[in-house]
Amino acid sequence: MIGTQLDLIVMVNYFVVVVGFGVYFGKYSSTTKDFYFGGQRFAWWVIAFSATATTVGSYSFVKYSAAGYNYGLSSTQSYLNDWFWVPILLLIWLPIIYFQRIQSVPEYFERRFSKTTRLVATVFILIYLIGYVGINLLTLGQALHTMLGWSVFAGASLACVAVTFYVFAGGQTSVIMTDLVQGITLLIVGVGIFLAGVAHFGGFVDWWALMPESHRYIFSEFNKPDKFSFIGVYGQDGLANTGAFVLMNQGIIMRFLALRSVKDARKMSICWILVLAPLAAITVSGGGWIAKALVENGELETTANDSFIHAAHLLCSPGIFGFVLAALMAALMSTADTLINASSAVFVNDVYRPYFKKEAKDTHYLKVARISSLSVAAIGLLLVPIFDGETVYQAHAKFTAAITPPIVMAILLGILWKRFNTPAALATMVGGGALVFLSTFSPFDALFLKPLAFGMGEGSYKFIRAVFGLLVSGGLGVIVAYATRPQPLESIAGLITGTQLQAMEFFKGAPLNRREGEVVYVPVETDASLSGDETVLVSSAHMETLAAEAGDLLYVCDRRWWFGGLRSFHTKAVEGGEGATLRLSAEAMARGHFQDGDVVYIEKQF
């Protein structure tokens, strides 16, 4: 066991608090919209922190600390190349999925292409997601084995039950709120260890002087070393993985759809990628940098893989080290909960609803959503002993490497190019995926990948495969698109770039009002004469301040920012009434979790 009894107590308490916190927020989930999209009411900062926790995966501390120990600052490369995808995310992809009310990536494939394309995407994405649930639970079990000496399966089972407990209770709302706590914990602990290390050496200048010169560059050299060259990391992470992250990661897409507006998506992306991602890079790599300096200073002996734990153990007193262990748990749990919720969403939206029960009450789908969350977690747990045997683990890794670039290219070409049609999308995904899968076997690896490896050896193939995947699947798609007829433009309106405004009109169901108004702060009051859960009366004066017209979309939210949007709801503007209050029906008050006299702010969306 690592650490003392006190550390163990701190970690167990953290575990209990997080699970309890998640279960508490289950009361905010009463519809499938709440269960999968948190009611679309969250503020940007809540989602930014929770997304950070999700992206710091179960393997991150070990992987990036090892890279930081071996290669220095260039371990941050993966966290600093996301910004370039933000314009495509915010200005093309997000408006399409948000305003077209698309709930999953496969659903986009059906709307944009065909039912067959959706089926292919569903199968690929479900295998990818459920496999990852298994891998995450395995990593959780291995971490608990290292920390507490439990068997891997026992640790994975306990963690699985805990995570599933709050996912079952509150779905996305619980996932977001627990990941908010876990994101803050991760960043405080990770950055704290780095700063404690720097202070240990006497300041930044002294720490920097201990770092070898080769460790001080933000990028590794262009084509060396084979296993950490810039071009390999950039191809695999900066292009394929980040592309997948913003375009096909169901968990992240659901996080964006949980935001109260696309305006908040902008703030969230900026905060997440420009502020929190660099902090996350320090969080996961800092232990490796400090360990390297400690080794150079003759104070520590360690290996790259153990560098984080050893550096943290040396710098932290008992009890404080318990928080480090808690942060590791936070990284593990915050990824697993998102994957379980996302897999359940794809199952219900793309398998159950279209193939088993098309029309049913929302309460029925909510029940199925909860049961499918349990089922996904159970399947993931069953995969743990299988993945522990390496062969299946490797097979899943190969499968993931094979499908990621083709799906990214299919979505990218689908949103950018109106000529890109159903046969082209199928050729991109199936043909591209098959060729990438083939490239994982000899002699095809050398045949396909060597020409793209910039003189590097076999050690680079794992990275270069992503570049090959993007090129070959994109190339196949372009050839087939030119060889076949394009779809009529009217059938894909609102689903490709150039038609974002049509998507907005579809969302609103009326012409857009993009006049700039101001936010209005006003107390709420129940009006018993109103009925329906989205009925409000806004006074004429407030309508004028908002620059709103009847039928415009409004967002009404408790003014206390620390609720993060939990007490809020969307509605349509209805002009009526006088005076300085906002009059709401009893149902609307309940939906927004308001009480008479609460001050809310009203924001016009469009």
């Binding site: 600093l80 910004w83 370039f84 933000v86 933000i218 050299e221 262009f222 950039y234 974002q500």
Partner: protein, 75 residues
């Protein structure tokens, strides 16, 4: 003598990255979704450009300057 193995990563990341940013902004502008008459939209474009330039400056600082500060060997 500039070590091109250190320069190519910057050219590659910010060259391809610039292209991706340009595609996104062009798509926003050409569709009318990005309306430069709106304050929020102007701010978004400024932040996109600012983020790009900020990352470029950071990358250059940690490639051409800071590695040689505090006892590093100039290459």
């Amino acid at each position: 003598m500039v070590d091109m193995a250190r320069v190519w990563p910057i050219l590659c990341q910010f060259g391809i990255g610039g292209l991706l940013c340009a595609v996104g902004v062009w798509a926003g502008l050409s569709s009318g979704y990005l309306d430069m008459k709106l304050k929020d939209d102007r701010r978004l474009v400024a932040v996109i450009v600012g983020g790009f330039v900020g990352l470029l400056v950071l990358s250059c600082a940690f490639t051409f300057w800071l590695p040689f500060v505090g006892g590093g060997d100039a290459s």
